[in-house]
Amino acid sequence: MALPLSDSGPLEGPPVSYDPDLERIEIELLLEGVYRHYGFDFRSYAYASIRRRLWKRVEAEGLRSISELQALALHDATAMDRLLLDLSISVTAMFRDPDFYRVFRQEVVPLLRTYPFIRIWHAGCSTGEEVYSAAIVLEEEGLLDRARIYATDINDRVLKQAKAGIFPLNRMQEYTENYINAGGQRSFSEYYTAMYDGALFSPSLTRNTVFSQHNLVTDRSFSEFHMVFCRNVLIYFDRALQDRVHALFYDSLVMLGILALGSKESLRFSQYEDCYEMLHVKERIYRKVR
């Protein structure tokens, strides 16, 4: 089979004739309009990423410019739903970065075990891959019954998907490998039932999980947690917004609470760097110490 050529395919941005300065104006206007009309604030998202996602939506809607997308999104709430899904979804996998889950099991779980009752927050949980992955580890370590887990996202639709616990069947081989590499102790297939249109994960994995809408940009802290997961979510934010969200996490963690970031994210340059110690350097696991 010939490999598909990338010579054609979706736009990776505007046509080359498009003026980059004008494009920036249009993008800022669209994001401002979306914020003022719908209340979703993407104005401080990382420019290159949001630009790429906006152009994908422009193309999917059969439009030619960001301004046309702005008009459509403001006048047609269903088009806004589609745009919201594009802008807010984060693409991930179960047990993405298996080493992280291995370290979570070996080095973080023993700390969590010292608490009689554990509160965990998955911030920006998207479709829930990480929620289920962490729940599997907690279940195998006998901690799931002691845990209260909050899984939040800005987007209602992905939360519903997360809650349903149905993942694509064609990813199960990859997820099984990840699970094994992460030190999984059972047969991964014990956790799901294969149906014709997907793998349904055992509802008992989320028996102590509350899925709820929360906006990291505009909402405040809603509880105190022993651990916050926020992996590969902040990469979509600009530096100023990252700092604001770090303030939110700091306020939401108990003393000695644990913050897990993506393996290419850090607290470096953030004003909260001194408030944490590194529990694991490579996997970017931090502990609040002051």
Binding site: G9, P20, A48, R52, R96, P98, I235, R239
Partner: protein, 195 residues
């Protein structure tokens, strides 16, 4: 013509090619370079470490919002796309493009749109056609497009695909590519802090 950033894309056979190019760059080299090498999603920090042995320039693993600094060599991490903005690098976990994450096209196009004619785009050996569209964007924006001479590449598919998209690209051996890079006029130093 002055240049502000170079982007290098490669896949199969890329490690040896990168060894040769980076090893030939002088320690006074001032252009920041972003390298996208396809590899396994869990391959970790091996690549920046092994490439650091070739050069006195700083070979860095890219983290989110890494500031772009003159003369540093930035290696795209496995399993992320690298997007280039003026002054810093952003990461994305969006879907693979043509089965690749990092995608060469994604990085090249973001570089061309952010730095326009200040970009040098280089496509090396590889067994797929990632990078062709990206190199076209670099060329369309007035940047310098360079392709490894296909018959000298371990796999000629990627350079040949890039040449189909950008027939006017300069076609060079690895040694010549290093010479051209070292001889480029570099724009005044990048800011030291990002965003």
């Amino acid at each position: 013509m002055t240049y502000e950033i170079a982007v290098i894309g490669t896949s199969w056979g890329g490690l040896a090619a990168l060894h040769q190019i980076l090893g030939a760059l002088p320690s006074s080299f001032r252009l920041p370079v972003v390298v996208v090498q396809h590899r396994h999603k869990d391959s970790g920090q091996f690549l920046p470490r092994v490439l650091q042995d070739d050069t006195s320039l700083c070979v860095c693993d890219v983290e989110d919002k890494t500031p772009i600094v003159s003369g540093n060599i930035y290696i795209a991490p496995a399993n992320y796309h690298v997007l280039i903005e003026r002054g810093h690098l952003s990461l994305s976990t969006d879907e693979p493009v043509a089965f690749s994450r990092p995608s060469i096209d994604v990085t090249f196009i973001s570089a061309a749109d952010a730095y326009r004619k200040g970009v040098v785009g280089i496509v090396l050996t590889g067994a797929n056609s990632d990078g062709a569209r990206g190199l076209k964007r670099v060329s369309d924006r007035g940047g310098l497009a360079i392709v490894q001479r296909p018959e000298t590449a371990e796999s000629s598919i990627m350079p040949a695909a890039a040449l189909r998209q950008v027939p006017g690209a300069r076609v060079l051996t690895l040694a010549e590519i290093a010479d051209v890079l070292a001889a480029l006029t570099v724009a005044p130093a990048q800011r030291r802090t990002g965003t």
